[in-house]
């Protein structure tokens, strides 16, 4: 590519020199391509076009923004932080000691439904400040092992959680699986009616079908000196362990939610919900927060006003710009192609 062109020909029999008369004798073949005259569209943004573009953006963005805002407004979301309440008050180290102890960690919480919630109601747990995207963490998994029983020993990438102390393979290996979230929630209404939680179908179908093997069973899991999180039922194949599948989809950001289950009945405004939870998961060591979230969903996802506001802002800005440009074009018009603006006409003789 950047080698110097082949050396000048010194071999008269077959001149390689591109300038040799033999090759020169032909006139370059005319084509619109070689003459750089291919038919082309040469758009020029005239004032009318500029204003139209801005107005078009306004027309598209404002409705989308409004629709997003409405969608977000319709979403009913109950967020309840429980990590601080479900542990003895005191210093952080006390909490860490508590969570590491074998004490009973059952905790009761009561939630009030502010507005009518249409089913399905998604139950999420939210972790703050948990770096599921930490380089050390995301790399520590073996997708081959998860998928195929024969690749059980593909644990190179799983360090430092690849084998047990005596060298037998851990399935599923790696820090990601090891640290699986293990708080549990059960819901009942104030009438003491149990609210069933569906845990089927909370993970991606593609993951269940292709990514996690139906014949891969947990082995030697969570047997080490340090318990990271949940235990797995060794008789259920990985493809059916939906909590694991959800957890293994590592979150993009340090504050994230993961689907815990779905409540498939409507909740009425003013209902109170009792939550009995097992507060097992240690977030105290890194000041992480744990929250329980119940949320309905809109076409846009969860409750988030950002998109709506951003769209309205851009749409509004473009409207303002359209106005400003209209004023500029009216106040200081310039004929397109006006030669008086040329540099050699503006300052005669001067350079």
């Amino acid at each position: 590519m950047s080698n110097p062109p082949p050396p000048m020909s010194s071999t008269p029999a077959e001149p390689q020199d591109p300038s040799s008369p033999r090759r020169n004798s032909k006139r370059p073949k005319y084509s619109r391509f070689t003459q750089q005259e291919l038919p082309a569209c040469k758009p020029i943004l005239t004032p009318r076009w500029v204003i139209s573009v801005f107005l078009l953006v306004t027309i598209v963005f404002v409705p989308i923004g409004l629709a997003s805002l409405f969608a977000s407004r319709d979403v009913v979301e109950i967020v309840n932080r429980y990590d601080d309440q479900c542990a003895p008050s005191g210093s952080r180290s006390d909490k860490v000691r508590f969570i590491q102890s074998a004490a009973d960690k059952t905790c009761n919480r009561t939630l009030t439904v502010p507005k009518h919630m249409k089913q399905p109601i998604y139950v999420y747990y939210q972790l703050d400040n948990f770096y599921q995207n930490h380089r050390r963490y995301v790399k520590s998994r073996s997708d081959q092992q998860l998928r195929n029983k024969n690749d059980e020993n593909e644990t190179n990438t799983c360090k430092p959680e690849d084998t047990t102390e005596n060298g037998t393979t851990i399935v599923p290996c790696g820090l990601v699986a090891w640290s699986m979230f293990n708080d549990t929630f059960s819901f009942s209404t104030n009438k003491n009616v149990q609210l069933p939680i569906t845990k089927k179908g909370i993970s991606w179908k593609s993951d269940r079908d292709h990514k996690f093997g139906k014949d891969v069973f947990p082995k030697n899991f969570q047997n080490g000196k340090l318990i990271g999180g949940a235990h797995l039922n060794e008789s259920i194949p990985l493809s059916a362990q939906e909590d694991l599948i959800v957890w293994m989809r590592t979150a993009a950001l340090p504050t994230f939610r993961k689907l815990y289950g779905k409540i498939e009945v409507d909740l009425q405004a003013g209902d109170t919900i009792n939550v009995i939870m097992q507060n097992n998961y240690n977030t105290y060591s890194f000041n992480g927060k744990k929250k329980l979230v119940l949320s309905t969903a809109s076409w846009l996802g969860g409750k988030n006003n950002f998109i709506g506001i951003a769209y309205l802002a851009v749409g509004g800005l473009c409207f303002v710009l359209a106005m400003i440009f209209t004023i500029i074009y009216l106040v200081k018009p310039r004929r397109l192609g006006d030669p008086t603006y040329l540099s050699w006409n503006r300052s005669p003789g001067g350079h």
Partner: protein
């Protein structure tokens, strides 16, 4: 640019146009006195531009050179016809040649070694190696090696193909047969088996297989004619001689025993020094005794010679070298910004590593139980830290890892893109049929591939005159014969009367070129020898027909009854004179070394050529001694006027001399090239005396050149003036218009010529370089003091003009003072260049609109270019066609060779070559402008494109505990600059046109965009960086906020970022495309589609963490809304700024584009525009 003394010897272009060949090659040899230095090896050596001592030195040197014995130690001893003995002591190279670089075995190591000479690849390599360390493995093995191996592979395949072609041509070359003397018989032998010392026989039209000293030829006088087109591109025949002592030997019968002692192989194709010992005699050999590999034997039935240099030691092989390498100004400037980008890169990496350090320090105690860190590895019995070596080391590792992750901040791919783009641009320049020369059938040539964009910023054009501005096709115009001026009306040949012809054996022989003749002179010339006027005219034309080195060659035509006589010779002036003589009935028919035959008005006459003193640059004339049929002997001399008037007998015919001088003045004032002819009859004693000294001199072993010159000077005295001829060298087509265009484009055109002042000025007038409203400042000095004085005077006077100019500038344009033209000659430059006066000359010259340098030596041309180059930032361009322009072409930022009449040396030294001067206009104004604009845009765009991606990665790092996780998959990171975004930039940079050719040609002022560096400057760079920052923020933070506190997973968000950034950079490019052809559409939208396909492919691989992410993601509305919002929000500021500038401060380009589109003219009212241009 030639080493050592650099004498400012004037190659006199008046007599023999600028050093094209033979005669002037002698000069070239003297100037080029270092034998190691060939014409291509004019590299970047220290130049001393013409010093006074030079003259003396060269004088001494040129004489001493022929005296110089070759040291035995330096010599190569060749035993004639004894290859064994020759090669006994030293193994001289065999004749097989090898231009191929690699063999099957060496290909891999050598090619890799050569490829890694490029900094870009080293950078790639270091990054890839860093990535292989387990501590730093950011990318997987495959992903980290892919880009480098891809580039290496492509280049290697290309190199292998080229080398295979070279192998093939080597094989053909090596296996050609030639006839070699073996055991006293000539046998066919493969060319590659020829050895030094062997005797080889060539027949007509054979290609000479190795450098050979001639022993004998079919011509009884030992002349051989050769064509050197393969060597230096000159198509005319050159004469080479066998030595008298050897030419009678028959190789098969007489065993030739001799020893040739010659210099070591060198690349000077015009020099050869050797001695030959044969039969006890000691002969000296020169360049005229050797035929070089690659030449073709012509017009000679056979020739026998002894091989002295073979194979790679032949001069042709030693001269094969690549095109010169220059670096473009834009690239040099770009490197500065690259350094800035490296600083940014280091800054980003520092920021990441410091933050990572702080984070680790804060969490140091928790690392052990942190689920997402877990410092310890419990899989071994002894619990150890896993991949953790303390905060300090972690900071270092983080730094190195961030370099790996952010590597494309330094747009290494840009270098490769630039090379591809230049190839594309070169393709279009070569294919441009507006730059195709019909007459010489030559296309534009790009010899240097890395300075295309410099063509858009040229400020100074240095032009040669002969052959560059003019056609270098000499045409005989006027004659002054014995004081009578024949410059009357010319006849054109109409109907049957197509010039003069003669009958030979029932065939019609005609000169190949018809010349317009003066009716009166034609009439008079037919009157014959009897009248006084007739006698004078007879003498004049006889002199023209005889006193030259032209060889007539009879060429067949389509009709068997008609033949054409083609006059082959080394000087176009001589050709013109001989054709003229033929037109007036003095047709040269045959020339051997002993006699000539001239058909004079139908009567064939034979003259013995008793001797000839060839042209040399000291005498500036040549002479021939003719023996007439009646036994009388005459010496005929032809030469430049100043050299001739010194040797003309002023005691008689004073009025004729006076009249001739007047005529000469009037001829040269209309731009004609003049020659003066003189003649003298030699008495018997004088002739005998001359003959004996001539013979002694020409057989002298040492100092022959000097001796011969002395003999010539003694003979060429007291001549009787015969007349003078005037030859027109017509301006090339379109030169005045081209110069006008260049001037309008604010490019300064300087003409540097070896011609004399009057001729130069008149050509300058006819080419509209000088106009009558210019005031001329002329500097002709002969000493340092006077040079200094005239410079100062000139500065004052031009300063005056300038001051008044300034005053007027603001006010009315009515009485502007005229622009100044500086005319300076070579002898003044001797005292100015390389002295403290240079500065003054520079100031003066920069005040002047036009600079005309006359009678300058080749090195002075380079000196003038250097004068400008050293003192300004402006880009210089030198254009020329002859060997004397080589140094100038190599000195200038851009060198252009005219591939026309003269040899190809200028072309070989040049960066670009073309057929006509006028092509300079489309080259600079159209292609140069486009190339510059495209390249400037491409560089900035590449900076942006890579930086925006790096910044998106960087922002994400801030949300991952500073651990350099990339949400974007490693494959997308790698493919980003290779596949996702690379094609459109290259296509757009090759094809986009900011303005149509028509607009650029009609309004040369638009070229000013390049002078003002409108397409690439630091303001634009910083604007681009600011824009990059904004766009990266939008791309990153819109999804971040939109998906904050959601259950989005890393790969999905990564896909969104990938698509958003790729869409964005491509739409950004689309927004800047000016001319949408189907190719632009295909490349831009194609890239976007290709990216989508790649992202999908990556996401259907189940073992990658991002399996099926894109499908899950795109099934939700928020993805599409984010994607759309990002594009618009990111581009709004750029769009607004672009529109505001376009409306309120439109560039010339913008206005011209609008005018182009809406069809209005850019002219102001007639009067106004005229004022403006006349001011320039």
């Amino acid at each position: 640019m030639i080493t050592t003394t650099n004498p400012p010897l004037l190659i006199h272009p008046l007599a023999f146009p600028s050093s094209n060949s033979g005669m002037s090659l002698d000069d070239a040899q003297i100037v080029n006195d270092s034998p190691q230095v060939g014409f291509v090896d004019l590299g970047s050596k220290r130049v001393s531009h013409g010093s006074r001592q030079g003259d003396v030195d060269s004088e001494r040197f040129s004489i001493s050179m022929s005296h110089r014995e070759i040291d035995d130690g330096d010599a190569r001893l060749v035993y004639v016809n004894d290859a064994l003995k020759t090669n006994e002591r030293f193994e001289f190279a065999g004749n097989s040649i090898r231009t191929a670089k690699y063999s099957v075995l060496t290909f891999l190591p050598r090619n890799l070694f050569e490829q890694f000479h490029r900094v870009a690849y080293i950078y790639f390599l270091i990054i890839a190696i860093l990535n292989q360390l387990p501590q730093l493995a950011v990318f997987g093995r495959g992903a980290s090696i892919l880009p480098l191996s891809f580039v290496l592979l492509v280049t290697a395949v290309k190199d292998a193909y080229e080398d295979w072609r070279r192998h093939r041509s080597d094989r053909i070359e090596n296996n050609r047969m030639s006839s070699v003397l073996v055991n006293d018989r000539f046998q066919q032998k493969k060319c590659k088996d020829i050895q030094v010392g062997e005797i080889i026989k060539f027949s007509a039209d054979d290609i000479i297989p190795c450098d050979t000293v001639l022993l004998s030829t079919s011509d009884p006088t030992g002349v051989a004619y050769i064509q050197t087109i393969n060597l230096d591109g000159e198509s005319n025949l050159k004469t080479r001689y066998a030595k008298q002592e050897t030419l009678s030997k028959v190789a098969e019968k007489d065993r030739i025993d001799g020893l040739i002692k010659c210099e070591k192989p060198n690349r000077n194709i015009y020099g050869f020094m050797a001695t030959m010992e044969i039969d006890g005699k000691h002969l000296s050999l020169g360049p005229s005794n050797i035929v070089l590999r690659g030449c073709v034997l012509k017009n000679t039935n056979w020739a026998v010679g002894v091989a002295v240099y073979c194979g790679r030691e032949t001069k042709a092989m030693l001269n094969s070298s690549g095109a010169p390498s220059k670096r473009s100004r834009l690239e040099t400037r770009m490197n500065r910004e690259i350094i800035l980008l490296s600083v940014f890169l280091v800054g980003l990496c520092m920021a990441v590593s410091v933050c990572a350090g702080v984070w680790l320090k804060q969490h140091e105690d928790d690392l052990e139980i942190l689920q997402f860190y877990r410092k310890k590895d419990y899989s071994e019995p002894v619990v150890e830290n896993y991949n953790y070596s303390g905060v300090g080391m972690e900071i270092v590792f983080t730094f190195l890892m961030s370099v790996i992750v952010f590597q494309i901040m330094i747009p290494i791919s840009l270098y490769i893109s630039m090379e591809l783009v230049r190839v594309g641009q070169a393709y279009f320049m070569i294919r441009d049929d507006k730059m195709y020369d019909e007459t010489s059938k030559s296309r534009f040539q790009c010899r240097a591939l890395n300075i295309n964009e410099d063509l858009g910023q040229i400020k100074y054009v240095f032009s040669d005159k002969t052959g560059t501005l003019t056609e270098n096709k000499m045409e005989f115009k006027y004659a002054s014969i014995f004081g009578v001026d024949y410059s009357g009306e010319k006849t054109n040949f109409e109907g049957e009367q197509r010039g003069y012809y003669i009958q030979v054996n029932g065939q019609v022989w005609r000169p190949k070129m018809a010349v317009e003749v003066d009716k009166e002179l034609l009439q008079l010339s037919k009157t014959g020898n009897n009248t006084k006027a007739g006698k004078q005219i007879y003498d004049f034309f006889l002199a023209l027909a005889a006193c030259n080195t032209i060889v007539p060659i009879v060429v067949d035509t389509s009709s068997p009854a008609e033949k054409l006589v083609d006059y082959q010779g080394e000087s176009p002036d001589e050709q013109a004179l001989v054709y003229a003589a033929a037109a007036y009935g003095f047709m040269l028919m045959e020339r051997t070394s002993g006699h000539i035959v001239i058909d004079i008005q139908g009567e064939r006459q034979r003259f013995n050529v008793l001797g000839m003193h060839e042209f040399d640059s000291d005498r500036k004339r040549m002479s021939v001694i003719l023996g007439f049929a009646d036994g009388s002997v005459k010496v005929i001399v032809k030469g430049a006027d100043n050299s001739m008037f010194n040797i003309i007998d002023k005691s008689v015919n004073l009025d004729i001399i006076k009249a001739t001088e007047d005529h000469l003045l009037s001829y040269s004032s209309i731009g004609l090239r003049t020659l003066v002819v003189g003649m003298r009859e030699l008495g018997v004693p004088e002739f005998e005396q001359w003959q004996s000294s001539y013979e002694t001199a020409s057989t002298a072993v040492m100092g022959r050149v000097g001796l011969l010159r002395k003999v010539a000077i003694n003979l060429e005295t007291n001549l009787e003036i015969v007349g003078a001829s005037a030859i027109e060298d017509r301006l090339q087509k379109g030169v005045p218009e081209a110069i006008e265009s260049l001037r309008k484009a604010n490019i300064k055109v300087w003409v540097l010529t070896g011609d004399k002042q009057e001729t130069a000025i008149s050509i300058a007038y006819s080419s509209k370089l000088l106009t009558s409203n210019m005031s001329q400042v002329v500097i002709n000095s002969n000493s340092k003091i006077s040079s200094k004085k005239s410079l100062e005077d000139a500065l004052v006077s031009s300063g005056n003009f300038l001051v008044s100019d300034d005053q007027d500038a603001g006010g009315s344009d009515c009485n502007t003072s005229p622009p100044v033209a500086l005319i300076i000659d070579g002898s003044s430059l001797v005292y100015i260049l390389d002295t403290e006066l240079e500065e003054q000359l520079f100031q003066l010259a920069s005040n002047c609109a036009v600079v005309l340098c006359c009678r300058v030596a080749p090195l002075q041309k380079a000196g003038i270019v250097a004068l400008i180059k050293k003192r300004t930032d402006a880009m210089t361009l030198a254009i020329g066609d002859g060997a004397n322009d080589v140094s100038m072409i190599q000195m200038a930022d851009v060198g252009i060779g005219i591939s026309g009449q003269e040899g190809r040396q200028a072309v070989m030294a040049s960066d670009f070559a073309m057929g006509q001067f006028r092509f300079l206009v489309p080259l600079l104004l159209v292609h140069g402008h486009w190339n510059y604009q495209r390249m400037g845009y491409m560089i900035l765009y590449n900076f942006y494109r890579n930086a925006v991606f790096v910044l998106v990665l960087f922002w994400y790092v801030l949300f991952t505990g500073f651990t350099l996780t990339t949400a974007i998959t490693e494959w997308s990171s790698v493919l980003y600059s290779i596949l996702y975004t690379s094609v459109p930039t290259i296509v757009i940079a090759v094809l986009d046109k900011d303005l149509s050719r028509r607009s650029l040609m009609t309004y040369p002022q638009l070229y000013g965009a390049g002078h003002r560096q409108e397409s690439y400057n630091s303001t634009l760079f910083w604007l681009t960086i600011a824009d990059t920052l904004w766009q990266s923020i939008v791309v990153f933070y819109v999804p971040l906020f939109a998906y904050w506190k959601s259950d989005i997973d890393g790969p999905s968000l990564g896909d969104l970022w990938t698509l958003a950034v790729v869409f964005l950079v491509n739409i950004h490019l689309a927004m800047d495309v000016i001319r949408w052809t189907w190719l632009s559409h295909a490349s831009i939208w194609g890239s976007i589609i290709a990216t989508c396909i790649c992202v999908i492919i990556i996401d259907v691989i189940p073992v990658l963490p991002g399996y099926w992410a894109i499908f899950e993601l795109s099934s939700k509305g928020s993805f599409w809304i984010c994607l759309l919002g990002i594009q618009i929000a990111a581009l709004v500021p750029r769009f607004v700024i672009k529109m505001v500038i376009q409306h309120c401060k439109p560039s010339d380009i913008q206005i011209a584009r609008e005018a182009d589109k809406f069809g209005n003219s850019l002219e102001l009212t007639g009067q106004e525009i005229e004022m403006n241009t006349s001011r320039r």
